[in-house]
């Protein structure tokens, strides 16, 4: 079979949409209220070295995903431990995002419907998309990026008449620990989650550098996050933004287009689903690829459906209620740190050594 290739723009926009994923829904709200732009910027800066590492790994092994790299670098046992860890993380993340979106859908538009049917519909769609392959996901992201960003820009523009710029002040009213904690949160959710794309690497078209791809994606994400934050803050004010579960949804309730379309929140909120689907699909693909690598199977596509079902089962009993879901957000950065930073870091160091060694050998030989 011919290996499907993902073009530069397709890959970039899937990373962007992945980063939007649940963040656009949950709003980029943190403990620091009106100053959230500071942690957003800080997290972006902190993400730069991480993305450099990701880019370097992709550049050194353009034909391999991180599972394959681990396998060839660390031998069978250690490689498999790494693969298992990342696979677990991918499944878990998949379940988390699925849960985020089913909670969101339930709260925003269908309070009487149980969550399971919502989850089933979402996971079936993502399974279909994941089975269709990477390139299909890229095409999806390409089109949906425009829809999602169009909605973000549209809501931003319509929010302007009601915006209260005073809400941005005062600056510097929080402690350093609070800033750090918020930055760490934004860093690990969503930026560092891009580690999932290391699992999907190996099928990108080679003519453009992975650095360019990652940093364009980072830049676009940053802009959208700032827009979302500004819109939410100036409409809701810091207190309300912090207390509401889904600030973007609440914002959309306030926004009205003239007198005619006064409450378009359900239309807008279902649009965010498109980004969520990309995130779930990417996680699902990564999980199935990891599992296939773990058991040394040829084709990962057959595993997409069971993995999707597993993720759904997982997300069904992860939390008992929405409160727990938001409570876990505090722990998440610490929990995810080993998967997001330490594992890629070790892999990168291994890569560098491997490449040096090979270069020496080729010089000698």
């Amino acid at each position: 079979m011919k290996r499907e290739r993902v073009t530069f723009n397709q890959a970039m926009f899937s990373i962007v949409l992945f980063n939007f994923g649940s963040s656009v829904v949950m709003g980029v709200s943190t403990g620091v209220g009106q100053e959230a732009w500071i942690p957003i910027l800080a997290a972006t800066v902190a993400a730069i070295p991480l993305f450099l590492i990701f880019g370097r790994i992709m550049q050194l092994f353009p034909e391999e995903d991180i599972f394959g790299i681990m396998n060839s670098l660390f031998g069978k046992t250690f490689g498999k431990i790494g693969i298992a860890l990342l696979t677990w993380y991918a499944v878990h993340l998949c379940a988390l995002v699925l849960r985020d979106f089913s909670e969101f859908t339930q709260i925003s538009s269908m309070p009487e419907t149980p969550q399971l049917p919502i989850m089933i519909l979402m996971i079936l769609t993502t399974i279909y998309l994941a089975r269709s392959g990477m390139r299909n996901m890229g095409k999806w992201s390409l089109v949906m990026f425009f829809f999602v960003s169009l909605v973000v820009i549209f809501t931003f523009l319509t929010a302007i008449p009601q915006a209260q710029v005073d809400d941005l002040l005062p600056i510097g009213s929080h402690t350093r620990a609070e800033y750090f904690e918020s930055s760490f949160q934004i860093f690990s959710f969503p930026y560092a989650e891009t580690v999932i794309f290391l699992c999907l690497a190996g099928s990108y078209e080679k003519k453009d550098s992975p650095y360019k791809m990652l940093f364009y994606a980072l830049f676009i994400t940053l802009i959208v996050f700032v827009l979302v934050f500004l819109r939410n803050l100036t409409l809701l004010g810091p207190a309300m933004m912090q207390t509401s579960y889904f600030p973007s949804y609440v914002t959309a309730r306030i926004i009205g287009v003239g007198d005619f379309l006064a409450r378009i929140e359900s239309l807008i909120s279902s649009n965010f689903l498109f980004a969520g689907i990309v995130k779930i699909t990417a996680c699902l693909l990564a999980a199935s690829k990891g599992l296939a690598r773990l058991f040394e199977l040829e084709d990962y596509r057959i595993l997409v459906l069971p993995m999707g079902m597993l993720a759904m089962a997982l997300s069904a009993f992860l939390y008992e209620n929405t409160m727990e879901m938001f409570a876990f957000l505090k722990y998440y950065p610490y929990y995810a740190f080993p998967f997001q930073v330490i594992l890629p870091l070790i892999t990168w160091i291994g890569c560098e050594f491997y490449v040096r060694k090979r270069r020496k050998e080729s010089k000698l030989g």
């Binding site: 269709s132 007198d259 006064a262």
Partner: protein, 517 residues
């Protein structure tokens, strides 16, 4: 020696029937024997009860009269040619010693422009059923075929479902040769390759694969031949038989093979590197590969002012989305998200709806089916009772049903909007009926969420489709202007420098000197 042979033949004549009956393998596969009588017997056996077949035994003039045997089918031959150009010269010819040579006969006696030599009975059947005349001569295991075809055909008219306001009005007819001539007139180059094939075990339908040699994508061409070779069908009566046989995804409701009845469209697509397949006895030509955006393109786009055609192309795309989603949107709003509507509108809709017994979703399904019934009747019925239909449609179903509170008035508007917008993209009518219904069901159970999921599934499905290895929905994410000049809007001709990517080997359509890209 000769006499001995003759004697032998004469002795055999009585046994020929027996001999033929004893032959095991199919007669069609048999080659000619050297004996004229045996050949004639086999032919007559093959054409038992085919009363349309005409046999003619001729003897030439001269001392040593040679015997000739002619066979042709009545009604599809030009009898004038058969009489004056074949029979008459043969009768008048003077044979020399020995049996006449077939080649010499063709060269000196028979006055026919197109002729060839065959040696199997299968070829005889193929030729005579096509209006040719076959000539057998004595003691020769070959026969000659003369082109004496004459069919009655339809005149060239403008195809009914591809009408244009301006531009060429010719359409294809059922005759393959005539269709080819229309294409050839528009592309007068030796690069235009026309490859003939025969399909259908019983119908022996001729098809012709046309492409421009320097533009065509070789991989697509090979794939096409591979699929055509695989076809093992009994009969081909229309090009749609072939469409479904060579489809990438036979079960998908969307077509991945294009079709047109206009020679100008065929040549336009050939010039983009596509391949056309013409089928004898069908006025519909096929083109591959077929991209999704072609559903929204029309040949008229290129004959009109580009502002106008860009606008109408955008309208078609909008129409596609509307006709898919309007019923679903309405149901989602009415059943789940009433808050979207302004209060007054909501009140009016609620007032209309309260007297209607059916739930909104069921109402929508019924009305959509009613619309499709009306549409189907409109196509099938004789044109002179069209008035009756419009009265039934407009008055009975529209007005009376609303006044009797069987249907809510907004629903009529929704169905009308759906129906009218579906006419904007007639090529997508078949898949849209099903997807529309699917969206309706999704929206009635899950509101906007269901609608979003439905749209997603449709989009993924479209992305999965390929047409001969080329992606049906091409989304490479290129922002280069040159690759997007004929997608949503049509740029003026001087600016369309490149051909659509991935279709053709040769990208450059025109050099485009002096135009900044």
């Amino acid at each position: 020696m000769l006499r001995f042979l003759k004697k032998l033949c004469a002795g055999k004549t009585t046994d020929i029937d027996k001999k033929i009956a004893g032959l095991n393998y199919p007669l069609e596969e048999r080659k000619f024997s050297r004996s004229l009588d045996e050949n004639v017997a086999v032919i007559k056996k093959l054409l038992t009860d085919v009363d349309i077949a005409q046999y003619k035994l001729i003897q030439s003039a001269g001392k040593n009269p040679a015997r000739y045997f002619l066979i042709f089918f009545d009604g599809i031959v030009h009898s004038e040619i058969v009489n004056s150009n074949i029979i008459k010269p043969l009768m008048n010819s003077k044979t020399e010693e020995g049996s006449p040579k077939l080649e010499k006969l063709l060269a000196t006696v028979v006055q026919a422009g197109e002729s060839k030599i065959i040696d199997t009975f299968k070829a005889v059947i193929e030729s005579v059923t096509h209006g040719d005349t076959v000539l057998f001569i004595e003691s020769c295991d070959q026969a000659a075929v003369f082109n004496t075809r004459q069919f009655s055909t339809r005149a060239i008219t403008e195809p009914d479902n591809e009408k244009v306001l301006s531009g060429p009005r010719e359409g294809f007819t059922e005759l393959l040769v005539q269709n080819l001539s229309q294409i050839l007139r528009r592309a007068r180059t030796n690069e235009l390759k026309t490859k003939m094939m025969t399909l259908g075990k019983r119908t022996q339908t001729k098809i012709c694969v046309c492409y421009l040699d320097s533009l065509v994508n070789r991989e697509v061409l090979e794939e096409l031949y591979r699929r055509l070779d695989k076809i093992d069908i009994d009969g081909v009566l229309d090009s749609n038989y072939i469409t479904e046989e060579i489809h990438d995804y036979p079960l998908s409701p969307f077509r991945t093979v294009g079709s047109t009845e206009r020679p100008d469209v065929v040549v336009g697509r050939l010039l983009e590197g596509r391949i056309a397949i013409l089928v004898d006895n069908s006025p519909v030509a096929l083109t591959v590969p077929y991209l999704f955006i072609e559903n929204f393109q029309s040949n008229e786009d290129y004959y009109f002012n580009f502002y106008y055609s860009s606008f109408s192309r955008l309208l078609r795309i909008l129409g596609f989305f509307l006709t898919l989603s309007v019923p679903g949107l309405y149901i989602a709003v009415v059943a789940f998200h009433q808050e979207i509507l302004p209060l007054q509108l909501l009140m009016r809709i609620a007032m209309e709806r309260q007297s209607v017994p059916l739930p909104a979703a069921l109402e929508a399904v019924i009305m959509l089916i009613v619309f499709d019934i009306l549409r189907e009747t409109g196509v099938r019925m004789p044109s002179n009772i069209g008035q009756a239909l419009s009265i039934v449609g407009a008055l009975v179903i529209g007005q009376a049903a609303v006044e009797a509170s069987l249907v809510a008035a907004p629903m009529i508007i929704v169905v009308a909007a759906t129906g009218i917008t579906s006419l904007l993209v007639p090529k997508l009518n078949a898949p849209m009926i099903f997807w529309r219904l699917f969206f309706l069901i999704m929206a009635s159970t899950f509101g906007f969420f269901g609608l979003t999921i439905g749209l997603s599934l449709l989009f993924i499905h479209l992305n999965n489709l390929t047409s001969f290895g080329v992606e049906h929905l091409s989304l490479k994410g290129s922002f280069r202007l040159q690759e997007n000049k004929d997608i949503f809007i049509r740029f003026p001709w001087p600016y369309m420098i490149d051909r659509p990517k991935g279709l053709s080997r040769n990208k450059v359509r025109q050099t485009g000197d002096g135009i900044d890209d």
